[in-house]
Symmetry: D2
Subunit: 259 residues, 4 copies
């Protein structure tokens, strides 16, 4: 189809029950709306602002849950990696590897991810121009893998705000399929308490602007109880609001496809 | 209708023939597409980077041409004002006064515009947050006029680039109808030659993102020969490309209206 | 001498007594430290965020007080102008005219200021690069006056913060003598209450960085009671702290002059 | 002494001869000027924009050269680490470990560095506020090591420029000794060729502004042939210019110490 695809799930894998519960609900919606779906969950949160923040339930535990989601529902999965040694390990459990935005300039990590042969989702650094992603994709391809995606997750705007530059979508589509991460694009970092804030009221605004501009995929973190999620509660979409959002976006994409 | 309205015309009034020619063509298109139309033209370019840049054909000459366009085609017109004394003068010739972005913090100018009783289009300063426009609108209303519009024309991003923050549309719609100026939002200021650059290839990207988010109006500068226009040639849309652009945008807005 | 000069005084002329009291105290300090001094006061605050903010005591009243300060203490004075007609009027009362940062791209205003034959202090727009001030100075010189100064008052950094780019000092010294406005460089604009905030604790940090880099002048707003000043209280230096600050800065400049 | 200390050396260890040659010359200067000195060299360049850029001569080779420099001249050394496993390895060869700016949010890396017991230099991310470094230092101290330094290497300003916010020096001195990296603060990233540009003409401007504000240390990359250096040639100071620069800075610091 000409629809966008969706990377969606909780920020972190907090346990098996929550992962399966979220996957089941998202699949019900994406099946109805004919949206290709990839279940997303981090096996480890590596860059929390504070050391007492939740970082995960153990790497192997979390990766096994990702595998279980995949097998239970027959959906592909995506998770992010942080060190070279994570690449081969995670590749045994998931279908898509993701390079976090802070790490996309680390050549060894990009090369290690490429060498797994998996699809790899390269997140544009908050400090990078859309044009600079050309070099990240080139490094990746030079490692013998041409299945790169690029994800835009916003750009620093002053110290405590992020902004999405929609000129980046047509620019980066020249290099690889482009995903718009509506969750992290709405972060407000460097807040004084050491906890990243956000603007979840703007999720549909940002998502619409991406879909109307032919973004290839969307990345949305969701939870059935964002206020009690162990990370990124400030920006996750409540699972109850996902169907209405996606229904609107699919209608917009259909119109765009007809132009 | 639920369609967006359009402020459109050349950057500057260079003469009567060109003004009538542009107006006639735009009206033909907007009539077909049922887009409420306001003819736009500056009677004076007051803030050029260099003193040898074109600044106009004379205030009264240009204002009379705006009047002629209005009478010839029965369309409202808009022009920008720069000093207190311009307000009453321009109000005799046009229907909508516009406060340039650099000047929207000048209280006397906003008050003088308000006191004409006309609709006034307040352009958000490139250095202002969407939220700060609340205060500009409040000053205007405190002067006894509640017919304000707000126009977003982008925000400074570093020294030589601008970015459109689409979070600003729902934010500013709380204060007044919001117009998206796709022409100036794509400027690239402070270039070394003293001539502002631009990204006209991104006009449709920015316009779609606005229309899909229910912006009330669009502002587009157009010319039948942008390369030889006397100002802002770097960003004006070629008149030949206007109909296709607007056709796409109207289709998107119709879908959005149905959601 | 090789010392920096100082533009200093209250934000706005609130009355004769306060103006004379501030001038007398500053002169006592600058005489002791051999700092060339220009008394600064605005006769009108033209760009307040809110309409209920203090805007002045009447143009003529305030200008006469500036004249009185000048005559009483035999010091030059500086004030800012906002419309073309202000230029000739203010030039009858003061020695230096100042173009506010928001207005430095308004060609007519720059030309009118130049035509008075006075020294004119062009403030770099918060939205301008240091390099772009070359064009502002050129416009000024093309109007037959070569007595321009450039003042840096910081650059927008995100919506709610400003930053001083010290690369601008050597850059702009190529075009004209450069003044560093430590008061407004520390503003934090676009705060939600419509009242500009600030970081007065950083005045000495910014001033030292300017003086050690051979800035030609400093601009400092001061008041004997900043908390009750009618404008810009958030950033003005308490008059009691001025002598210690300037003493440190003069010692630094002497060392720099010896290198 | 009350002097600043200096981290200085080539960007990358290209070989033993060049390392010894640079160290010898810098030591001659710092001995004369009584500047505590730490020899700096990267054993690996991990985040080059392009895959064909030079990344190093082999980790062990380069680390042994760092050790040789240390033993030959009895100076401490510093190098940067990129993965958890680098921490213990590099700690066997050098005295100070450095966390690159892109990686300072990676908790595991900061913890691994802390656990070596070495002094660790945490570089402020280009995307972080000075205040956010409080959390990085706290993570470090929570790992049982209180010998952290913070280095400012500039902050993103638009896509292609960096700016140094000197308010950050007094702010970050509350958390740990602060070093100013004048070399990387002057980078101009995201250039279209995939090669980072720079403004080496501004080195002294930035360094003076730091020294006059009591920065604890300076970080300067130098080479006897910057144009032919294998990385960062755009910003490295020519070794021939180091003595004059440091002489000026020491004179400034002495004056500041006397205030």
């Amino acid at each position: 189809s000409n629809n966008f695809f969706l990377l969606c799930g909780p920020c972190a894998i907090e346990g098996e029950d929550m992962a399966l519960r979220i996957a089941e609900k998202v699949i019900e919606i994406t099946n109805k709306l004919e949206i290709p779906y990839v279940f997303k969950g981090s096996f480890k949160k590596a860059n929390r602002s504070r050391i007492d923040s939740f970082t995960g339930i153990g790497n192997e535990n979390a990766l096994k849950i990702l595998k279980k989601v995949s097998e239970t529902f027959d959906v592909p999965t995506v998770t992010d990696i942080h060190e070279v040694s994570d690449a081969a390990m995670a590749a045994e459990y998931v279908d898509v590897l993701q390079i976090p935005a802070f790490l996309v300039r680390q050549t060894d990590l990009v090369v290690a991810a490429a060498e797994t042969g998996k699809v790899v989702n390269l997140k544009k650094g908050q400090f990078m121009s859309p044009e600079a992603m050309k070099h990240a994709v080139q490094k990746f391809k030079d490692s013998g893998n041409d299945k790169a995606w690029i994800t835009d997750r916003g750009t620093m705007f002053g110290y405590q705000d992020m902004i999405v530059d929609f000129r980046g979508i047509p620019t980066m589509k020249q290099y690889a399929p482009v995903v718009l991460d509506v969750t992290h694009s709405l972060q407000q970092p460097n807040q004084s308490a050491g906890i990243t804030g956000g603007r979840p009221d703007m999720i549909e605004t940002i998502a619409r602007a991406g879909v109307v501009n032919n973004v290839d995929g969307l990345f949305i973190e969701t939870h059935f109880d964002p206020a009690n999620a162990k990370s990124d509660g400030a920006n996750m979409l409540h699972l109850d609001n996902l169907e209405k959002l996606l229904t609107n976006l699919v209608a917009i994409r259909k119109t765009v496809n007809s132009l």
